[in-house]
């Protein structure tokens, strides 16, 4: 589904990603871990199309298309969803209007009929249950005054509404208490299928108790330096990142 080859990206001339290679197939869950500043969030942002990052080398093929050539909205319409690390508060834009516009623009792109108000509300009610989100929140402006946990739940709710094929969760777990973490993970797990894939970007192993990955990759200095299964995450939790850093850094000096 997703094939990343030798991806290099920089921001304002500073290279952040230095040759990422990653293959994600339908039905898989990949966890991307790594110390702060290793490029985890950059990778998520580059995939979603954030303009500040300049891709200097490499390619990203998503469902046979060159993802890097698509505008952010077209990536979303193709089925890429980024759950933001810091969801943006947008005063004055109603959550419901926003979602309806988003859902219908995505549907139009996919050649589906737009949803009328009734069908849209029915769908909303159904998906709201998934992430236990309160109707009251959705009658407010988008993310405005939401708590950290509410914002993250809203991200997963939007994900449920847009029915992506590739979901990228960018540190969705950070700042969540255990109840919120359980709710968010539950939502993600229910949305998983053998036709969709998930990339979980996280600093901590805790989330992976709930969203169990098939593969775990460690990102350091803009490269995937180690890949493994969920046991790797356990090892990282126990030993921290220093042993990996040391191994990589000593190799580099040799």
């Amino acid at each position: 589904m997703l094939s990343i080859k030798n991806l290099h990206a920089s921001i304002e001339g500073t290279p952040i990603l230095r040759g990422i290679n990653l293959e994600v197939k339908a039905g898989e869950v990949h966890a991307i871990m790594g110390p702060n500043g290793s490029g985890k969030s950059t990778l998520a942002s580059v995939l979603a199309g954030r303009e500040e990052y300049e891709v200097t080398e490499g390619e990203v093929i998503f469902k046979g298309k060159n993802l890097l050539e698509l505008a952010p909205e077209d990536r979303a319409r193709e089925g890429v969803f980024l759950a933001f690390q810091y969801p943006v508060e947008i005063p004055g834009v109603s959550s419901t209007n926003f979602l309806r516009t988003a859902v219908n623009q995505v549907r139009e792109y996919r050649g589906q009929e737009p949803l009328d108000a009734v069908k849209f509300l029915t769908m909303m009610k159904e998906k709201m249950k998934l992430v236990e989100i309160d109707q009251k929140l959705l009658s407010r402006s988008l993310n405005e005054g939401f708590s950290g946990g509410e914002k993250k739940r809203n991200e997963i709710f939007q994900m449920a509404m847009l029915e992506p094929t590739l979901s990228i969760l960018d540190e969705t777990d950070s700042g969540l208490d255990i109840d919120a973490l359980r709710i968010v993970s539950n939502g993600v797990n229910q949305l998983k299928s053998d036709k969709t894939a998930t990339i979980v970007v996280t600093h901590y192993q805790r989330l992976l108790d709930y969203i169990v990955p098939d593969f775990v990759h460690v990102l350091y200095k803009g490269r995937i330096v180690k890949s493994g299964t969920k046991e790797l995450a356990m090892e990282l939790e126990e030993k921290g990142y220093d042993w990996i850093k040391e191994a990589v850094d000593s190799e580099a000096t040799v």
Partner: protein, 422 residues
């Protein structure tokens, strides 16, 4: 100083005789001749060089003549959904035959009310354009709302302007609102020609105790329109005055909006939204004078500027020594969509009392790129996402229009302009 040239511009006007209000006119004429039109460096018109613009555009200015419009023209000009009474003006002159009679309201030509103390609220000494209007206006309108009269439906002040080269349109409005009276005005002008015209308008509103006045204004002038307007209101205790000014087009527009709070427990709110493009120059000068304790004022002006447009906001708040326990808030926010658009914003608070809450703030920036990306990342096209954000910004002003039909009308205009039709 090029005072002589400035006087020449309006020479004919000053010489033409207008009957009635001889004392007021002569006082205003003297005041005008002393002040002259604002010189290039004049503090109050520092960013708005209207004198030069007028001199360039109009070699000579004479008084605009009223003209006929048909009932059909009036009907088709009224916005959809409007229900209420309509007062029609052509080139500033009140047209009783095209207007509807309002129960409970006294409406007449100003010339029929020679005792009206014009110039007692908007004083000619404060501004040369205001003085010019008072010295040379043809005739105005007198509107009086008796005490305890609640006019439930809004009153539409519908002005048709049609320019023959080189004339000045000078509307003059006097509004008296009695104790416990309430009403809403919608002030809208319709431009019937493309050639340059100059409007120099003065509106005085006298609110008695417990009066409630809403004054909504839609400025949708021709792209060659010049306008200076003075709207000044006095309110007594327990009263409320609220204005919303929506400005969408014109060449150079200067709005002087002033409120004098003369009685306690009163509230004055001024909201403004300006969407500028091309070379439009829009200057909003507001002035709130707190003279008594226990009153509140709120101001929120927002602007979106594109192309080479220029916005000016100057918000004066005076809190006099007696005006303890005053709450006065002011905010001006701008979004610049182009490198060539500029905003000059200046809060000007003068506080003489020591137990007050006052605040002001102004921001000028670009569209929030992070918010734009967030919307795009959800599949919303860039143009629509941009429209969403701009409309969200503008909506904060529109929501203060309490009259629903007018709010809907303005919302549609703003959405069409911002490309955010939902």
């Amino acid at each position: 100083m090029n005072t002589l040239i400035k006087q020449d511009l309006f020479e004919e006007l000053l010489e033409s005789a207008h009957s009635g209000f001889e004392n007021s006119r002569s006082e205003a004429k003297t005041s005008y001749l002393v002040q002259g039109l604002p010189a290039p460096k004049a503090e109050e018109y520092k960013f708005t060089g209207i004198t030069k613009k007028l001199e360039q555009t109009f070699p000579q200015l004479s008084s605009a003549q009223p003209f006929e419009v048909s009932a059909e023209t009036v009907k088709s000009a009224v916005f959809e959904g409007f229900s209420g009474d309509i007062l029609v003006f052509t080139n500033g002159k009140f047209q009783p035959s095209l207007s509807t009679i309002i129960d409970g309201l006294e409406v007449s030509l100003l010339s029929e009310k020679p005792e009206t103390p014009i110039g007692s609220i908007a004083k000619p000494g404060k501004d040369a354009f205001c003085a010019l209007n008072q010295a040379t206006f043809e005739d105005g309108i007198f509107i009086s709302v008796p005490k305890k009269t609640q006019i439930e439906k809004p009153i539409l002040l519908l002005s048709f302007n049609k320019e023959n080269a080189g004339s000045v349109i000078q509307p003059r409005v006097w509004i008296e609102v009695g104790d416990f009276a309430e009403l809403t005005f919608i002030d809208q002008s319709i431009n019937l020609s493309e050639s340059p015209y100059f409007i120099n308008k003065v509106v005085e509103i006298k609110g008695a105790h417990n009066s409630h006045v809403h004054y909504y204004r839609l400025q949708h002038e021709g792209k060659n329109a010049f306008e200076v307007s003075t709207i000044e209101t006095d309110i007594q205790k327990d009263s409320k005055f609220a204005s919303v000014t929506i400005s969408l087009s014109g060449e150079m527009i200067r709005n002087n909006l002033s409120l004098n709070i003369l009685g306690g427990n009163s509230e004055g709110n001024m909201y403004g939204l300006y969407l500028l493009n091309g070379k439009t120059h829009m200057d909003n000068h507001t002035n709130v004078d707190h003279t008594v304790p226990h009153a509140e004022s709120n101001e929120l002006y927002k602007g979106i500027l594109d192309d080479q447009s220029r916005g000016v906001f100057n918000g004066k708040i005076f809190v006099r020594q007696d005006a303890q326990k005053t709450n006065a808030f002011q905010q001006n926010n701008n979004i610049l969509l182009s490198e060539d658009a500029t905003v000059n914003t200046k809060p000007q608070l003068e506080i003489w009392a020591d137990d007050v809450k006052c605040s002001h703030g102004c921001t000028t920036g670009q569209l929030d790129e992070e918010a734009l990306f967030y919307l795009q990342a959800r599949g919303i096209g860039k143009d629509q996402a941009r429209g969403f954000l701009l409309y969200a910004f503008a909506g904060e002003v529109l929501e203060h229009i309490e009259e629903e039909s007018f709010r809907t009308f303005c919302t549609e205009l703003v959405q069409a302009r911002l490309g955010s039709k939902l």
